[in-house]
Structure formats: C-alpha cells, structure tokens
Symmetry: C2
Subunit: 139 residues, 2 copies
C-alpha cells in the first residue's frame, strides 16, 4: 500500500481540464485548441516512468490508453493517433494521447513546441468533453 | 490468421540495425549516435495504430516495451525514458524507446527533428548491441 496520497502535478493541473477517472488513471484535456489532446495519468504517487508501475498497473495502463485512444478517434475522426510518455519537463508519469490531422499546425511533426497553445472555444470544448465522457463512461 | 506475411517497412529498415525478435515484436536500433534509440515493431501485417492490435497483442506489446525500456535504462543509465508511438511519417506501427540524458542535444525537448543523425562508432554500437541483446535474451 502507498502511504503517500496521489495528487496531480501542479503543472499538469494548470495546463488541463479534468475529464474523469478510469480505474487507474485520471483523464485530462490539454488547454490547446490546436489539437484534440488528452493526458492519461496513473493515480499512483511517485511514479515517473512506465517501468516504475507494477505489471498489473502496466497492463491496466495499456487498457486505459487504448480505451482513451479509441474514444478520441471515434469522436474526432482523426487521421492518426500520437501516443507518448515523455516527461522531460514534468516528472509525474503522464501519457499523451493526441488526435492528429494532416491539416493541423504541426503535421507531420510531433506537436510539442511547434504552435503556441490556442484558447478553446467554450461551447466547442464542452461538446468535445461531453462526447468523450459518453464514450469513456465517465460522468 | 493473417494471410499476408509481415515485413519491415523499407524506411524503418533503412534507418535501423536489427537487434532481435521478441515474441511479438522486432527490436531495432536507430542509426543515430546522438541518442540510444530503439524501435519496437510488432510483426503483424497492416497495423498502423496500437488500437489496431487485438487485446492480447496490446498486452504483449506493453510487456515488450517495458522489457526493452528496462534493458535500455540498465545499459545506458539514462536520466529519462521517452516512449512514443507517433507514425506520422511511416505508417507501420513502431514504438520509439529512447534513452534521454540531460546533456543530450535535444534535452528537454523531444528528439524528433532537432539534430541531424550522427554516425555510430562501430565498436561502440557493437558494445551497446551486445549489452542490449544480453539483457533481452535475444541472440
């Protein structure tokens, strides 16, 4: 058992809106309207790398990444999914699940560092989050 | 059963040296001495996304990513692992497993598109591959 409670890293909290919790992970939306961009963050304290999770958690993380990626693809009808655990700037393990379009600002490059974050239109973000929550069965 | 045989995408074949096969995936070394940089490529024809694999293959892919990442961390003593399935340029599903150092050319940015690929020193690559093969139990 972990004696320390998990909490979301302040930088991730600042950069995202909460979508909901799966069994292992919190699912978040990055505040950047350039791309439909989610984070999957295992709610386990002190975890930096996927290899720091135990085997059961690793298997569950894959299940949740796939669940989020399938929902994102269904909702956005994107051309490509980009899935990545980098964490060079923010150490708390977080997996990016990004819907890429051949017309987006960074294509075909990875999204990091290419375009300044763009504010969401509130109504559009609300529709996206509602559709994602429905697909993910989170309320 | 798949009626079409799997083969490595020509671009991936051009950019890599083969390390060996795990149960599901071929493990390759990217020809770029800037970073210890591996690819994990499931040997399944026609697969573009992780969500295209079936559940058993997804679970096995996670097992193999973790196995490769642990070996890479042990061999390189790196500061951070970067793990990513992007595939915007080459459609065949391939997972990057990269050993990052705080002193490498791209840190803290992702590696893609930052530095021109650097030729390996043959003896150094040979030592790295030998150490990786031993850790991965591939001959």
């Amino acid at each position: 058992m972990n004696s320390v409670a998990w909490s979301l890293h302040p930088q991730l909290a600042k950069d995202t809106v909460e979508l909901g919790d799966l069994v292992l992970s919190r699912v978040l939306v990055i505040k950047d309207a350039n791309y439909p961009w989610l984070l999957v963050v295992p709610r386990r304290p002190g975890i930096v790398e996927i290899i720091d999770l135990d085997e059961i958690e690793q298997a569950q993380l894959m299940v949740e990444i796939v669940r989020v990626a399938r929902a994102l693809k269904a909702v956005t009808q994107c051309d490509k999914l980009n899935i990545a655990a980098l964490g060079n700037a923010v150490p708390q393990l977080h997996v990016h699940v990004i819907a890429r379009r051949k017309t987006d600002k960074a294509w075909p490059k990875p999204v990091w560092g290419v375009a300044e974050p763009l504010d969401h239109d509130f109504a559009e973000l609300d529709r996206f989050m509602h559709a994602m929550k429905k697909k993910l069965w989170v309320s």
